[in-house]
């Protein structure tokens, strides 16, 4: 196996199966095994409404999207849009805001609602509404005349529970990404990201990656963002605390206020499951778990089609943003420290064009910008999660559509793909499937 097939460096496992995303990094110290296993238990825990007989695991809601982490990240994998186009959704959510800046420069919450649509709630509390997705097919052609069709989604919120939604409502749909290799990404030094960034396109290559500037709730200070579809969270602990509150309704030391808007009286009046509901001990174990999931090795790296596709990936310009190689620095977890690994991301924000835009700013990220997502593990999503939907909202039905949606800074690379031969397109997709 070529060295680059060890996508996750020393955290790689040569496993391609339905639970390929669910193993611990093989280089983890033995004393982490028990913490990891408990973190996995927390990840799979169905939180219940307080007060419950299970004191350690109560505190769900009052408003929430799912009752467990694994509800969205099933088998530590990737979510998808609802097949029938309406909520409550299983593994996807809508962030919401109104124009302007909110606390610490983040999105400005929608009055009466907050910054995320909660499609589920405890008894006696109204849900905020349900998502409705409608798709329009858009026809297109490859350079060789072969037809394709892309589905363009439109998002609406029905049955609003807390008064009319504002006319200037901004919606950003997000599917749950796969959980692998996150500690490696956390261990990439800030200095690396700053050095990779080229906000003014000084080198004139048409690619101007930027770092997001977000709020670290732990240090109470601004920080570089690196997790989430728009790099809205600086660390995994922040990401986990944010998801626990926003998605499940669990308070923690980082996010101590219940997920209730000022106007949601019944929500604020609910019994809580302790202060905080997710203790630091639990948050720390969950964070170790989320940082140390093994990355599956590339499959068939030395097969001719995959090697040809890898060359095209560079040749067409994909690798300008989906950077094949990063290095981690020092990190409290030895298993992710000082590794060379292959995530196919630069962790930077790029303007991806109008077609993909959510038009909802998120800290320094504009409505046109998205953080380059890692590509590792994408070829295994069909096996792990039984679907092949890609992009931030699952609109793409496979790799070709995902590439064809690229615009903005990626327009040149997309056109190169669109105009290359069918054999070369197939080779590129064979490479992506091997990751």
């Amino acid at each position: 196996m070529p060295v680059t097939a060890a996508l996750g460096g020393a955290t790689t496992r040569p496993i391609a199966a339905q639970n390929a995303f669910s193993f611990a990094a093989p280089n983890a110290p033995r004393e982490h095994q028990r913490i990891f296993s408990f973190g996995n238990r927390l990840f799979n825990t169905n939180w219940v409404m307080a007060p419950a007989s299970v004191k350690a695991f109560d505190g769900l809601g009052p408003l929430f999207n799912r009752v467990s982490c694994s509800g969205c990240h099933t088998k530590d994998g990737r979510g998808q849009p609802p097949a029938d186009g309406h909520g409550p959704m299983e593994s996807m959510l809508l962030r919401i805001s109104v124009p302007g800046e909110g606390p610490h420069g983040g999105p400005r919450p929608v009055p009466g609602y907050g910054d995320q649509l909660s499609e589920r709630s405890n008894h006696d509390v109204a849900t905020e509404g349900v998502a409705r997705i409608t798709y329009t097919e858009i026809a297109g052609y490859y350079g060789d005349g072969e037809a394709f069709s892309l589905r363009k989604p439109d998002y609406a919120i029905e049955q609003p529970g807390y008064g009319p939604l504002p006319a200037d409502l901004l919606i950003s749909p997000r599917v749950a990404p796969q959980m692998i290799g996150l500690g490696l990404l956390e261990a990439v030094p800030d200095a690396t990201l700053t050095a990779l960034a080229d906000p003014g396109d000084a080198d004139g290559d048409g690619i101007s990656g930027r770092t997001n500037r977000v709020w670290n709730a732990e240090t109470q200070a601004p920080a570089i963002g690196r997790f989430g579809w728009k790099a809205g969270q600086p660390t995994l602990r922040n990401q986990n605390a944010g998801a626990a509150l926003g998605d499940i309704g669990l308070t923690s030391s980082l996010r101590s206020a219940e997920n209730c808007d000022a106007a949601q009286a019944a929500c604020a009046a609910q019994f809580n499951g302790g202060a905080p509901e997710l203790t630091d001990v639990f948050l720390d174990k969950l964070t170790l778990y989320s940082a140390t999931l093994s990355v599956p090795a590339q499959r068939g790296a030395d097969s001719p089609a995959v090697m040809e596709g890898a060359a095209l990936f560079r040749g067409l310009g994909c690798s300008s943003c989906h950077m094949p190689t990063l290095q981690s620095g020092g990190h409290p977890l030895p298993e992710v420290s000082h590794q060379t690994f292959h995530p196919y991301t630069d962790l930077l924000l790029h303007d991806m064009g109008e077609g993909l835009a959510d038009n909802r700013p998120d800290f320094a990220a504009s409505g046109l910008e998205w953080r380059t997502p890692p590509l590792w593990g994408l070829g295994l999503v069909p096996q792990v999660n039984g679907h092949g939907f890609l992009l931030h909202d699952g609109r793409a039905r496979g790799f070709a559509e995902a590439i064809l949606w690229h615009g903005g800074e990626a327009e040149t690379a997309r056109e190169a793909f669109r105009n290359t031969s069918k054999d070369q397109r197939d080779a590129l997709i064979a490479f992506l499937k091997s990751l």
Partner: protein, 419 residues
Amino acid sequence: MAKTLKTWTAVGIALVGTTQILEAAPSARVILPHNPAFILSDGEGGEGASEGGEGGGQAVSSYKLDSTDPTAFAFDAKPQIEAYATLVHQSYADAATGADKMAAAIDALLDKPLPETLAAARAAWVAARPAYLETEAYRFYDGPIEAIEGDINSWPMNEAYIDYVEGNPKAGIINNGTETITGAGLAAINQKSDEADVTTGWHAIEFLLWGQDLSTTGPGNRPSTDYIAGEGNNDRRRAYLKAVTEKLVGDLQSLEQQWAPSVAGNYREVFEKLDQREALGRMVNGMAILAGFEFMSERLGVALDSGDQEDEHSCFSDTTKQDFVHDLAGIKRVWEEAKLAGLVKSRNAAVASEVDGLLVDAEAKIGALGDPWDAVLRADAASSERKAAEEAMASLQALADGLKKVGSTLGVLVLIPTE
């Protein structure tokens, strides 16, 4: 329920299962290729990566360690492989027989729902469990169990997904659904949107027989009146219990068929034709992963750290200690009855005697565990019950380490998920 026969074909050295539905099932379940121990081969690259479709590529499985010395692993393991196949077949046959007896007791309960018939059905569940637990030493490689294990023994489970729970008398499929309840229909939604939304298997049956365990002094206490026909949602509960029981029996019988001798195209036929060290690799990995991961971390460690009765493997019936004893017994049976002990002894007597000793130690430590297990979970961190549990975990860790040495001795790779 529809009868399915899965036939196995070797692709490289991976076994790929294809399921043929022999009778139309109302909702056949698509089973994705599932192999917790898929190891990618180094030399044979390219398998599957170039194939079309959205399959994600089929990996090649290899447990065989390469050696530059061609004589390094020149031994004949045919007796071990044959003895193993015989043992596995007998174990699944015993498990299926026990489940079948339980099904008869459950039929008697449904026929006359009384405290006595309910007690007899529970006793039959308890009596059927050991044989099944012993088969868990045959998990964690790409055997036929992997495709349906989730339907057979999933836990912990969200009880409210099935039936009423304290504080929610109208919860679950039994109290809310209108669809006809069938085993295939329940399997189709098993763990569909959440891993804890378990609908089928031993623990679903356990919950239906005992109800929630809300007591600190005994198991669950579901009344037999829950099964009186025609009252409330009892008819749906009756149908549910019957459907999942029949499905469990069918699933266990299908596993028995996969390991039965002289059945063309079944897993045993392929297993016996494998390169000997590929077969040995499956045998040793099944034992080692059960000891060092599933049993030690998932069933002991996680439960101890959460202190939550929900993490008790068989929480409704309070029979978790029995599960522990028989999981270990299953490992020991492979060691002894599949003649691994003798083969290892002939190659490295020190390793063989070390594993013998580790098994004795683990038996003593598991035997010393408190019973019921939920009382151990409630015990103070400094208590003797907790100390005994920590010692049991350490003994399983040591056993897993010993089994890794068995792997080295036999020239097979042993990969435990979390180390």
